[in-house]
Amino acid sequence: MPDLEAAAIAANRFGYGAHPNELRAIAADPRGWLKAQFSRTSPPPPEIAALPAGEDDLLAFGRWIAARRLRNGNGERIERQAERQGVSDEELRMLSTEEDFIRTFRQRAVAAIGARISAAITTDTPARERAVHFWSNHFTVSAAKPAAVALPPSFEREAIRPHVASRFADMLLASTKHPGMLVYLDNWQSIGPNSPMAQRREGRPRAGGFNRPTGLNENLAREILELHTLGVGGGYGQADVQALAAVITGWTYDRPRLREYITDTPGTRSGAELFRFEQAAHEPGAHTLLGRAYAEDGVAQGERALADIAAHPSTARFVATKLARHYIADDPPAAAISRIAARFAASGGDLRETMEAVIDSPEAWTPQLSKFKRPEEYAISALRAANLRELPPGAAAAAIGAMGQRVYAAPGPDGWSDRAESWLSADLVYKRIEFAQTYSERIARADVDAVAIGEQVLGPMFSAESRQAVSRAESPAQALALLFASPEFQRR
C-alpha cells in the first residue's frame, strides 16, 4: 500500500520538496528512499564539481582586493609587498588596471550560489543536499565578513560535503583546517604569545599604522566549543577556550603571493591541501582542556584535542538537538533528542547512522506541519514543484536574499536561525508572497494546472481550503501564486 502522506513528509520535511510525479515513486518506501541517499561517498553534483578549487577562489579574491586597494589610493600595503617580493611597478600597474579580475570575481560568487541552488533543484538526492546545507550552516563560514567573502562555496564543497555520511570528527577537523574557517574566525592571525614568531615580533615597530596581531586569537576556539561541538552550557569554561586556542595556534594556510595574482596561474589545490601547520607561531607546551592534558606534539596536539571534543557527551546532545530542531520541530521533543544523541554516541559520531536515527524518529512523521521553511528551502521547493530546471544566474539568489536569507552570507558564526520566529515576520512573509507571484507569472502558461501540481507535490497535505482557493483563482498565474503562498507550501 503506497503511503502518500509519508511520501509527502519525506519529500518536504527531509528533502527540498517534490518534483511533479515524484511522490508516487517515493511512496513505495519513504524511509528507504531517504536512507538510500546517504551512501558513504557520493560525487558532488555536476554543477558543484565544475566550480574552481578553493585556491583559485583565494587568488581571485586576492587580485580583487589588491586591485581595489591600489585603485582607491589605499595601496601602501600592496606596494610594500611588491617591494619585498620583487614585483615591479609595471607589473603592479597591470594588476590595478586589470578590470577583468574584478568582473571575474563577481561572476564567480554569483556562479557558486547559482550552482548550489541549481544542484538542489535538479538533484535526485535532495535529502543529501539538505544535509550538506544543514552542516555548512552548523559550521558557518560567511561572506558577510569581507575577508571571507570568496570562501564559503569551496568550504562547503571541500570541508562539509565529503563528510555528511561519514564521521562528525572528520568534518570538525576538515572545517577547522580549511582556509574558509581559518580566515572567517581569525585563527590564521592567532600567534602563541611564547612562540618564536611572537618573540621575533616583539619590539618591532608597526608598519603603516596597521596593528600586527601579536597574541592568541580565541575566536575560532570559542566558536568550536560554543557553536560546533559542546554548545553553551556544555561544560567548558574560559580556561578551556584559551587552552583550545593555544593548541591550534599555528593552524594556518598557504597564502597566495602577490606574484601569483599577476601571473594569473589558476589555483588547483583544494582548501584542505592549503592547510599548513606553522610551528613558529605555535604556542609551545602542554595544555589542559576539559580536564585532559595534551602534551606538546605539534599539529597532533590540536588534532587529538578536537577528536576528544567530538566524542564528548555534550557534543552528542548538542548535535542531536540541532538536527531535531532542523528536521522535527523548533522545540523538539526530548525523547527524539535523546534517541538521536544516543545513536550519535554509540556510533562514534557516525553521521549516516545519526541521520538514520533522525529518519527513524516517529516524531518526524506526524502530519502536523511543525516547521516553517527558511527562504532558501522555500524558493528551492517552489522551483522544484514548478519543474523549473534553469534559472538566469543570480535571479534565485537575489530573490532568496530579498526574502531575508543571503545565500552563503549568514549574519554571524551561529548561522541562519532554525526557528519560525526569525522568518515569520510581516515584511519577510510579504516578500515571500511577492516571490510567489513573480515566479508564478514567469512560469504560468494557460496549460499549467496549479491544482494538479499541488496534489502532486503536497499529496494529502494539500488542504481542502487551499485547494479551493487555488481552483477559484482568476488566472493560472494567480492559481500558482496562491499554491506557493499557501500555508502547507510555506511549512513542512
Binding site: 515584511d427 519577510l428 508572497i433 507571484q437 503562498a485
Partner: protein, 387 residues
C-alpha cells in the same frame, strides 16, 4: 479598534485618523537611530575650520563655502537643513566621538557600534533592543521598527520589532492579497497576522508623502515611512535607518562627489523625517552615528582611509541644541591618534546613555549592564535634552 476588514477595505485613508488623534494627545517619546555604514568623514561633515592646523592637514579636503556654526565649527555646504535645525536649537553636533573600538575593520567596528559591547562579537544582540526591552513606558506591540528587510544587529534582542523595506519585486495584486488573507485567516493564524501586519505597514508607507522623494530607497522616502510608523497610535518607540556608501577612500571632494551626494541625501532625509513627524517631532530625538571616522589627512586618491573618531549628530525637538559638544583634541601631528586619526575624546556610549536616561527614562542599572555591558566607567552625558 479598527477591524482588519475595515482597514483592508478602506485602505490607506483609514489609517490617517488614529495617527492624527494620537498626535493631538501629545504623545510619548520617540527615538530614531541613523547608522552611517562605511565610516563617515567627520572632519568633512563637521569641519573644525577654526583649528590652526585645519587647512594644513586637510589640504584639498578643506571645505569651500562651509556653513558656519561658530568660530570653531562649520557644517558641510550640503547640510543646509542641519544648519536650519542648529539655528532653531534642534541640532547638537558632537565631535571627536567614537565607540570603544580602536582598530579599523568595518565589520568589527559596526559590530561594536551595534552590540554596545566593549569588544567585537561580545554578544549577538543590540543595545537599542536592550533599551527598548528595559523601557517601562513602551506601549506598542512592536517596540522598534527597522527600515530594512531584516532588523540590524542594534535592534535584535528580546523586544519585539517590526521591519519594512521597499521591494525590488512587483507588488502582488490586492485581489491576490485578499484571497490569501482569507485563506490564512481560516487555516493559519500566524501567517494571517504576518500578512495583515505587512498590509498595514504598506498602507502606512503609501501614506507617506513621497512627492519629491525620488527613489523608494532614498533616505528621505525611508524617513517618511519611519515617521509614519512612529506617529501611529501605539506605534513603536524607536526606528532605525541604515545609510551605506560612506567608505570614501577616493575622490571625496567635489560638488557631485560621493560624499557630497550622501550628505545631501542625509540632509534631505532629516528634513523629511521632521516634516512627516509633525507634532511628534517635539518629542523625538534623532541620533546619527557611524562606526568610525577617517584619517585626518587625505590619501593619495583624494579620499581618506579608515580612522578613529568621527562626528555624531543629535537632532529633534527634544534636543537642547544650538551648540557643538566637543572636547576638541586638535589636529596637530602630536594630537592625532596613532599619528593619523582624529583622537577620540567623547565616548559614543556616554552620548547614547545621556539620551536613553533623560529621554526614555532608562535606569542607570540597565544602561551599565544589559544595554552597554561592562560600561560602568562611562558616565551618561547630562544636559543633552531640553529641560
Amino acid at each position: 479598534m479598527l477591524s482588519r476588514r475595515f482597514i483592508l477595505a478602506a485602505g490607506a485613508a483609514a489609517l490617517s485618523f488614529p495617527a492624527m488623534a494620537w498626535a493631538q494627545a501629545g504623545g510619548e517619546k520617540k527615538f530614531v537611530l541613523v547608522i552611517l555604514r562605511g565610516g563617515l568623514d567627520g572632519l568633512s561633515a563637521l569641519a573644525p575650520v577654526g583649528d590652526p592646523d585645519y587647512a594644513r592637514v586637510r589640504r584639498q579636503l578643506a571645505l569651500d563655502n562651509p556653513l558656519r556654526l561658530d568660530a570653531m565649527y562649520a557644517l558641510h555646504p550640503r547640510l543646509v537643513h542641519f544648519q536650519e535645525l542648529y539655528q532653531a536649537r534642534e541640532l547638537l553636533p558632537v565631535h571627536a566621538c567614537a565607540t570603544a573600538y580602536r582598530e579599523r575593520s568595518h565589520f568589527d567596528a559596526q559590530n561594536v557600534l551595534e552590540t554596545g559591547a566593549p569588544r567585537p562579537f561580545g554578544r549577538d544582540s543590540g543595545w537599542l533592543n536592550a533599551a527598548l526591552a528595559a523601557d517601562a513606558n513602551a506601549r506598542g506591540r512592536e517596540r522598534g521598527v527597522a527600515l530594512s528587510a531584516q532588523a540590524p544587529l542594534v535592534l535584535r534582542g528580546p523586544a519585539p520589532v517590526a521591519t519594512w523595506s521597499p521591494s525590488a519585486l512587483p507588488a502582488p495584486s490586492s485581489d491576490t492579497l485578499t484571497r490569501l488573507l482569507s485563506l490564512y485567516e481560516r487555516t493559519d493564524p500566524a501567517l494571517a497576522t504576518a500578512l495583515q501586519g505587512a498590509m498595514n505597514a504598506n498602507a502606512l508607507a503609501d501614506e507617506a508623502d513621497m512627492s519629491g522623494a525620488g527613489a523608494a530607497r532614498a533616505p528621505s522616502a525611508l524617513a517618511r515611512v519611519a515617521a509614519n510608523f512612529l506617529k501611529q497610535a501605539d506605534g513603536p518607540t524607536a526606528a532605525v535607518l541604515e545609510l551605506t556608501g560612506w567608505d570614501t577612500h577616493t575622490n571625496q571632494t567635489g560638488e557631485q562627489g560621493p560624499l557630497a551626494r550622501n550628505l545631501r541625501a542625509l540632509d534631505d532625509g532629516l528634513a523629511a523625517l521632521k516634516d512627516e513627524l509633525g507634532p511628534t517631532w517635539r518629542n523625538t530625538v534623532v541620533l546619527i552615528a557611524t562606526e568610525f571616522g577617517r584619517t585626518a589627512a587625505p590619501n593619495g586618491g583624494g579620499g581618506t582611509d579608515h580612522g578613529t573618531a568621527a562626528a555624531a549628530f543629535l537632532a529633534g525637538g527634544a534636543i537642547a541644541g544650538g551648540r557643538v559638544h566637543a572636547d576638541w583634541p586638535g589636529l596637530a601631528q602630536s594630537a592625532l591618534y596613532e599619528g593619523r586619526d582624529l583622537r577620540p575624546t567623547t565616548d559614543l556610549r556616554a552620548l547614547i546613555k545621556g539620551v536613553l536616561a533623560d529621554h526614555l527614562r532608562i535606569s542607570n542599572a540597565a544602561l551599565e549592564t544589559t544595554i552597554f555591558p561592562d560600561s560602568g566607567a562611562v558616565r551618561a552625558l547630562p544636559g543633552l535634552l531640553r529641560a
